[in-house]
Amino acid sequence: MSQTAQELPKELDLDDLIHLENMFVEFGREDGLAAGGRNGAIEGRVMGCEKGFELSREVGYYAGCAQLWKALAMLDQDRITEKTLKKINSLLDLINSFPRENQLDDDVVALLDKIRGKFKTVASALQTSERYADAPKSKMFY
């Protein structure tokens, strides 16, 4: 130790030796941070895309149905009553509040349930057999 004091202050040398292990950990950690950051961004993106896609697909379906029925109500006054039209409109309003962006405090699932319920109300009023049947989905692999 005394020999190397010629090159470095004694304290620094001691520090290096004592914290050698930490030093290695730090180097590894830095590399890991970068790699993990990349992975996390992609992984998150794929996950978010899947979730957003599937959820909004269902909501979009309800939106399309509502829009279509609304148009039909204009053309065919008898088929669709005023009362039902009101329900359709409120369904549309509900759908418009579905978040296009994910915010942490949004309770998306609760909203979806509300929308589903509303849709069922409208559907039964119209006596339609429309329903959002899910086909078995696959996951995306990245």
Binding site: S2, Q3, T4, E21, F24, V25, F27, G28, R29, E30, D31, G32, L33, A34, A35, G36, G37, R38, N39, G40, A41, I42, E43, G44, R45, V46, M47, G48, C49, E50, G52, F53, E54, L55, S56, R57, E58, V59, G60, Y61, Y62, A63, G64, C65, A66, Q67, L68, L72, L75, D76, R79, R100, E101, N102, S129, E130, A135, S138, F141, Y142
Partner: protein
Amino acid sequence: MTDRDSRTNASPTWSSDKGSDSGNGSGNDDDIWGDDDNVSYDRSIAEREWSRLHENFGNSGYLEGIEEGKESTLQDGFNQGWSEGVQYGHELGRLRGLISPLLEYIQSSSRGASNTSSTDLLRSLDETQQKTWIQTASDLVKELIELDIAKVFDKAYFDDGLGPNSTSKTQQQTTDSGCCGGSSSKSGNESCCKSDNKGDKEESAIPQKSGCCSKPSSASGDGTASSSCSKGSSCGQAKSEESGAASTSAWSSRPDHVLADYRSRTLDLLKQVKLEHLLESN
């Protein structure tokens, strides 16, 4: 020669003469012990020890870092993906919602329900055309029901990050300016794209030449930098066909194609019943 001298010469290892000559105890100096075998053995032990330390602690640090890095970018990535997914999912679902009840309406009417006004929808079509319409509509609905997400988003979509909400325009710029200097190996990405922060939103701030790949980033720290980097990694590959055709071709990603296809088929069907305005009523 005296006896002492010969004795000195005969005992090479522990000769005090040699020790005092060097006066240096750093251990790197052979003269200390004077025995080559011992020193190189010790040295190789030391080197192996160093490598072992390096590897073991380095690896555990790496694992720590990966976890931490992942966590830092996961949520933002999720949010971005969410918006992208919603954009396409909503419309694809809506198309089904437009046609499916319409089909039901038309079919129920044609089965001789009380009012005739409902069949008016297909009145501009002759019987064959009506049958065709019904068949086409059924096929479309079925397809939309079975449409698998993997058919909409392909791997390349996430690679380039050329989604409609992402920095498609600026992404082209980065590719044009030769970000990552053509080093296509992804492992070199620590140095790439160290410049920007919330890469998605503020890419305009990217100094195209200087920031990117200028120097190796030591733990860019902000995970989102890496997130844009993962998209920017494509800039190493010659995505010139994407960037070359400027802004419009950024939209020629698979999801857009798929969506455009279904929209046009839906439009065809709607036109025939004079309900094409519904397509835009979103």
